[in-house]
Amino acid sequence: MADIKEIIAARVAKELADGNVVNLGIGLPTMVANFLPEDVHIVLQSENGIMGMGPAAEKGKEDVDIINAGAQYVTINTGAMYFDSAVSFGIIRGGHVDATILGALEVDQHGNLANWIVPGKMVPGMGGAMDLVVGAKKVIIAMQHTQKGAHKILKECRLPYTAVGVVDMIITEMGVMEITPEGIVLKELHPDFTIEQIQEATEAELIISPNLTAMK
């Protein structure tokens, strides 16, 4: 079995179309850019003030005035531009970002998302996540299906929300799920797992799509 993160990132990449404006969260989501087909060029938005972000800066060639939202030194692509944080979140909140891809601590069958706080334990702050998931046209959660065996895809989130009813799609190493008014629909199942296994790893009840296919 290939690296779990690569499986997820590769599948997420298929959701992106040529010309899409995309905001990638820190960590796994950042890997998505590596799996885009040759003919698909996306425009990466970084909420600290870049439209048209490029790859990480080469060691020794960093321009310390150019960072991404994860405080890593990055480059920009031809045709990029910089802007301030009010403009940046105007773009985000205004619905001009086609997709945002980020991780989750918990996501539930109503599309509610929790990914910014574990009260009493971890209080890093929401950063731009609350604006991103409310503003982006499509919210894709890319994450490992469980956290050390514990459910992350729940009937109801237990942690404080990042936002309510915003998640469109969940992509894990086990499958591809869409949030619908009826609940979570399993659209694709990874060949390494059975329906029983993915259901067992999921607290929410999965609706199995009549057109269920294999996740590639």
Binding site: F89, G128, D131, A163, G165
Partner: protein
């Protein structure tokens, strides 16, 4: 024209204990380090710091935190500076930090509202979350929004890339972030400049912050490594 050029020490001299201070920068990229250092040296306490984040212990507003000068921090993200959690949870009452977390887009917009005379704005961000607690929810055309209020401060510390002697300022690359809004929302605005040029040297189409907002200019900044 009034002379605005001075040392960092002179520029921070009017800042008093208990002041509210906006500090530009995103993870200290675009933070005026010399002005922070001058503030550390001055040693004023009980500050309310408004900044996107808490920097790291050795950079940006992190230095003020390490030096015990911050009473209240208003920020969107503090996870990369472990001292924030330590000080929030300390039992030593006088070291205790109050940390108010605001979504990043809402923080930027609240500062903009403070600088532009708006009484507030309606944002969909935070509806249904603990961010909404105590806030008015207003439904416009079928969608709920939070009423968020403007944010102003006594002082703003701004990192300019190129500043003319009147204070007209440009920001290079991602150092722009919160700097332009903060420069409009404080009573006393200091530019920490990487380069100071004569008035008229910046193309009028490319100036981002007008000199009318600027009270003091100190040189000696540079693109600092995080």
């Amino acid at each position: 024209m009034k002379n605005k050029i001075m040392t960092a020490k002179e520029a921070v001299a009017p800042i008093k204990n208990g002041a509210s201070i906006m500090v530009g920068g995103f993870m200290a990229c675009g933070t005026p380090e010399n002005l922070i250092d001058a503030l550390v040296e001055k040693g004023v306490k009980n500050l309310t710091i408004i900044c996107n984040d808490a920097g790291v212990p050795s950079r940006g507003v992190g230095k003020l935190l390490t030096n015990g000068q911050i009473k209240t921090l208003i920020a969107s993200h503090v996870g990369l500076n472990p001292e924030v959690a330590q000080r929030m949870n300390t039992d030593v009452e006088e070291d205790k930090l109050e940390c108010i977390l605001v979504p990043q887009g809402t923080l930027a917009e609240r500062i903009r509202a403070g600088g532009t005379g708006l009484g507030g704005f309606l944002t969909p961000t935070g509806v249904g979350t603990i961010v909404a607690e105590g806030k008015q929810v207003i439904n416009i055309d079928g969608r709920d929004y939070l009423l968020e209020k403007p944010l102003k401060a006594d002082v703003a510390l701004i990192r300019g890339s190129v500043t003319d002697k009147f204070g007209n300022t440009t920001y290079n690359a991602t150092t722009r972030n919160f700097n332009p809004m903060m420069a409009t929302a404080a009573e006393y605005v200091i530019i920490g400049a990487c380069e100071i040029v004569e008035v008229g040297e910046i193309d009028p189409n490319n100036v981002v912050t007008s000199g009318i907002f600027v009270d003091a200019i100190a040189g000696g900044e540079k693109p600092w490594q995080i």
